[in-house]
């Protein structure tokens, strides 16, 4: 009996550690394949075995037991990757201190949000589920695959994806901490100081542990280890190059500031988020090798985005900066293909350049370009299939595949796609007034308090 119990316990533990990921076998036939990295292939088949792309070519025979997706007359592209999202999270802002490197959005993944399905219906297959921007140094983020339908939060996480962390500069951290709580930072000077101070403390912490680890193997060692500190552990991992910084930023000066700070501390893996004035320091970003993840055209919602331009992505791209277009928004997320298309109006990027902004480039920024972001043999079968070219206004996402599993199919789509229905939820009440002006009177002047009360993403953008 006891042995059975232990076996069951072991099994349960195993299930917890290794979340089951469904991997499908599919043959996608006869589409125009937009590989993004290796050109466009007309009338081409893509074979998917065990969730990986195993063959790309013409006239591939259907292996027994494979699902066939007829993509004749349609466009097959890599699944879209949103490098800045807060979807699928139950908590976003740990706004309680200027530095909260100890928290992790991966602890708040909610696989039941119907918004994840809506993103799938827009061709999105992976998202960077980020911490909010209330802190100069926020929490670690999670790279999530949109395996909508699974109920285990662990199974939503992209296994093996590198660790990332959220930083934030400018108005948000200075408003929350300086103006809100009367502590540093209240200015962009303070933000730099907070980051430099944190890295310096982490460096000292790391050195103390190194010294201890070296000393403890010596004969007759009697000292105690330094006190464990989760916040400093995370910061030390940034210094060691184990975590990619994704920094919320707008103005050119603050972007330039963080480049200098990172240079001083030897940090190389750095992506700027929003980065509306990135175009002003594009040569510096390119020289450093830092990435930029931008909105296609958002501006005017606060002073630090007043001097924005919709040509930002094009200027950055043409200056050699690895650039992506993100959503940071549950609605925008549904049509990132269209947002990428705007770079053809604002800067006349080529089809491949525009598509790279939502596929291979965000994959590079998340450190997962060996796995996703293009249609190549050996990569994960995260694929979006469109009627009409995905950069055309008349395009319609038809089928979205994650790890070879069809997770969205417009033809077979039911209206109600919720997995979990809250029994207490009143169903005939419209949730949003949806006039779209984002100036709800009950929110005015209260965004900080509201964000604190509900922990929602009001401090983002």
């Amino acid at each position: 009996m006891k042995r059975i119990f232990i076996s069951l316990m072991l099994l349960a533990t195993a299930c917890l550690v290794f979340a089951q990921v469904d991997r499908g076998n599919v043959l996608i036939k006869g589409g125009t394949v937009l590989t993004v990295t290796k050109g466009t292939l007309e009338n081409t088949d893509v074979l998917v075995k065990d969730g990986k792309i195993s063959q790309i070519g013409k006239g591939i025979a259907t292996p027994a037991g494979y699902r066939v997706v007829d993509a004749t007359g349609m466009f097959v592209m890599p699944g879209i990757i949103d490098a800045h999202s807060h979807a699928g999270l139950d908590a976003i802002n740990e706004a309680t201190a200027p530095v909260t490197a100890e928290v992790f959005t991966g602890d708040a993944v909610n696989p039941f949000q119907v918004g994840l399905y809506r993103a799938l219906a827009g061709g999105v297959t992976a998202i960077h589920a980020m911490h909010g921007s209330a802190n100069a140094i926020g929490g670690e983020c999670e790279t999530v695959k949109l395996r909508y339908g699974v109920k285990d939060p662990e199974a939503m996480k992209m296994e093996g994806a590198p660790r990332t962390i959220k930083f934030a500069l400018g108005e948000n951290p200075t408003r929350v901490h300086g103006s809100g709580n009367g502590i540093v930072p209240r200015t962009r000077m303070g933000v730099e100081f907070v980051i430099r101070e944190s890295f310096s403390q982490a460096k000292a912490y790391m050195e103390a542990w190194d010294a201890y680890n070296k000393a403890k193997v010596q004969k007759g060692f009697r000292g105690a280890p330094p006190a464990y500190n989760r916040r400093l552990e995370t910061l030390a991992d940034i210094l060691k190059g184990n975590i990619i910084i994704h920094c919320h930023s707008y103005r050119a000066d603050e972007i330039y500031m963080l480049l200098n700070v990172c240079k001083d501390f030897g940090i190389k893996r750095l992506v700027f988020q929003h980065v509306n004035e990135g175009f002003k320091v594009a040569p510096e970003l390119a020289a450093y090798g830092a990435g930029a993840s931008v909105f296609s055209d958002w501006w005017a919602y606060k002073f630090e985005v007043y001097y924005s331009t919709a040509y930002n992505a094009a200027i950055l791209t043409k200056n050699g900066v690895t650039t992506s277009i993100n959503s940071d928004d549950g609605e925008l997320m549904r049509h990132l293909y269209h947002e990428a298309g705007k770079t053809q109006k604002y800067g006349q990027l080529s089809d491949d350049e525009a598509l790279a902004l939502i596929t291979i480039n965000p994959a590079k920024q998340l450190g997962v370009d060996n796995r996703i972001g293009s249609i190549e043999v050996g990569k994960d079968a995260d694929i979006a299939i469109f009627k009409n070219h995905p950069l055309s206004i008349y395009t319609i996402p038809m089928i979205t595949i994650v790890d070879g599993v069809v997770r969205f199919d417009r033809e077979k789509d039911a209206d109600d796609q919720r997995i979990y229905v809250d029994p207490k939820q009143t169903i005939d009440v419209t949730l949003h007034t949806a006039t779209g002006h984002d100036h709800e009177s009950c929110m005015q002047g209260a965004e900080y308090q509201t964000a604190r009360l509900f922990g929602f993403n009001l401090l983002e953008k």
């Binding site: 918004g115 809506r118 219906a121 175009f279 594009a282 040569p283 020289a287 055209d297 958002w298 501006w299 005017a300 919602y301 606060k302 002073f303 007043y306 924005s308 331009t309 040509y311 094009a314 200027i315 200056n319 549950g330 609605e331 269209h338 298309g341 053809q344 109006k345 604002y346 800067g347 006349q348 009409n388 950069l391 055309s392 206004i393 008349y394 395009t395 319609i396 789509d413 209206d415 109600d416 919720r418 939820q425 009143t426 169903i427 009440v429 419209t430 949730l431 949003h432 007034t433 949806a434 006039t435 779209g436 002006h437 984002d438 100036h439 009177s441 009950c442 005015q444 509900f454 929602f456």
Partner: protein, 434 residues
């Protein structure tokens, strides 16, 4: 020697020209006589003309067709391979009323009070708002600027996006704005109980009814006393609506609220009404059609209003209403001053069932008709205002470039702060090293 002199002079002039073309806000428009030749003209109301010419003079379209005499002295713009469309009309913005969203000092669209219909949007329109050139260079030439908040928010006005005073911009239409009391939640943060929501709704409805009854009384007094009545600005502003001379623009979204608003409009016998927003219009499209109330639907690029709704309802909403027989205009209703995206909202509606032709009408002739300005705007016809644009493809397609914009005959400079930043920073000088 003479040639050197001329060369030097030319250089000086070029240099001077460069200096003088820089401007503090926007470069000047140009007026005159223009002939746009050899274009594909989508007139909207009279079909498509291939290889046609549009002549612009004195602010008006003076000729349209394939066999057009170009007036002497006209500036000829070769539009071979290009397309001409009437300027797009956005039916709901805060253009000129807001500069920076989060800074209240720059926002003039929300006055204190629940019942303030006398507050006029046109008064507060800043003709030099940075968003105005940014919007018009994308072919959106005309916009309804709408006050927000409360029950009667103020009076909206239609403006053309060129001019130095609000009066120069005014495009001939006003509407009193009403927010119909909503039964829905305002968002995820709205934790009121169902009962509280119901109570708040009833209270708002009672308030609206009270205001309306007063306005009816005021109308009777005013009529009986030949206009000699006590100063009562709120009621004076609503008076033309009560008399059926002015439009009531009702913001309404949830299906129940739309039904309630239809009932209200019919009970009060309001003659001129437009519904705006109408995100759940598809649920009650037949009823809206039967009531013959035109709508300005949008934003089209938005989220479903209910968790259990099909993901593409907002995209399909304008088409579904149109199919049911509703008169549908489309608005961008955008959060971030991106009214320039109006053609993309229309494009999404087109792709998800409305069709291109109807969607094109929904941003041109239909809003012009709804606003009672179809004699001036909304199509390419002789005698109408020369408010139009030239582009190199389908204006809904994202990659299409808008190349010329005319507003009331004025040739608009194709620059905005966003294009100027592009010009300055595409190849920054100095680069990394000074």
């Amino acid at each position: 020697m003479k040639t050197i002199y001329i060369k030097v002079l030319a250089l000086v002039l070029v240099g001077a020209g460069l200096t003088f073309t820089s401007q503090a806000q926007s470069p000047k428009g140009k007026s005159g006589t223009f002939a746009l030749t050899g274009a594909t003209i989508e007139t909207i109301t009279k079909g498509v003309i291939q290889n046609g010419t549009v002549v612009i003079s004195d602010g008006k379209i003076t000729a349209v067709g394939t066999n057009v005499t170009i007036p002497q002295g006209a500036t000829v713009i070769d539009c071979k391979g290009k397309f001409i469309y009437p300027g797009m009309i956005d039916g709901g913005s805060i253009l000129g009323l807001s500069e920076v969203g989060s800074d209240p000092r720059t926002n003039d669209y929300n006055e204190v009070g629940d019942v303030v219909p006398q507050m006029k949007a046109l008064t507060a329109v800043n003709p030099n708002a940075v968003a105005i050139p940014i919007t018009r260079v994308s072919g959106v030439t005309t916009s309804l600027v709408v006050p927000q908040g409360g029950l009667f928010s103020g009076t909206a006005s239609l403006i053309n996006l060129h001019g130095y005073t609000p009066d120069q911009m005014y495009a001939g239409f006003d509407a009193v704005v009403m927010n119909f009391p909503a039964t829905g939640r305002r968002g995820f943060f709205d934790r009121r109980s169902d009962e509280d929501i119901k109570k708040a709704n009833e209270k708002s409805l009672a308030k609206i009814n009270e205001v309306w009854e007063k306005a009816v009384q005021y109308h009777k007094l005013d009529s009986a006393n030949k206009g000699k009545v006590e100063y009562y600005p709120q009621l004076q502003a609503i008076l033309p609506v009560v008399r059926g001379e002015q439009t009531l623009l009702i913001n309404v979204n949830a299906s129940k609220d739309i039904q309630a608003a239809i009932k209200w409009v019919q009970e009060k016998k309001v003659k001129k009404v437009i519904f705006s927003g109408v995100s759940e219009g598809w649920r009650v499209a037949d009823e809206i059609a039967k009531a013959k109330i035109p709508v300005i639907a949008g934003p089209v690029q938005s989220l479903p209003t209910r968790e259990y709704d099909r993901y593409d309802r907002p995209y399909a909403n304008p088409g579904l209403m149109r199919k049911a027989g509703v008169t549908v205009a489309i608005q961008a209703g955008d959060r971030n001053m991106n009214y320039r995206n109006l053609p993309y909202h229309a494009g999404f509606a087109a792709a998800y069932g409305m069709g291109r032709e109807e969607a094109l009408k929904a941003v041109t002739i239909v809003p012009a008709q709804i606003f009672g300005v179809a004699d001036k705007l909304g199509s390419i016809e002789t005698g109408k205002s020369a408010t139009l644009f030239v582009c190199d493809g389908d204006p809904f397609e994202t990659k299409t470039q808008v190349q010329h914009v005319f507003i009331e005959g004025w040739q608009i400079p194709m620059v905005s702060r966003q294009t100027e930043l592009y010009d300055e920073f595409l190849e920054r000088s100095p680069g990394v090293k000074k």
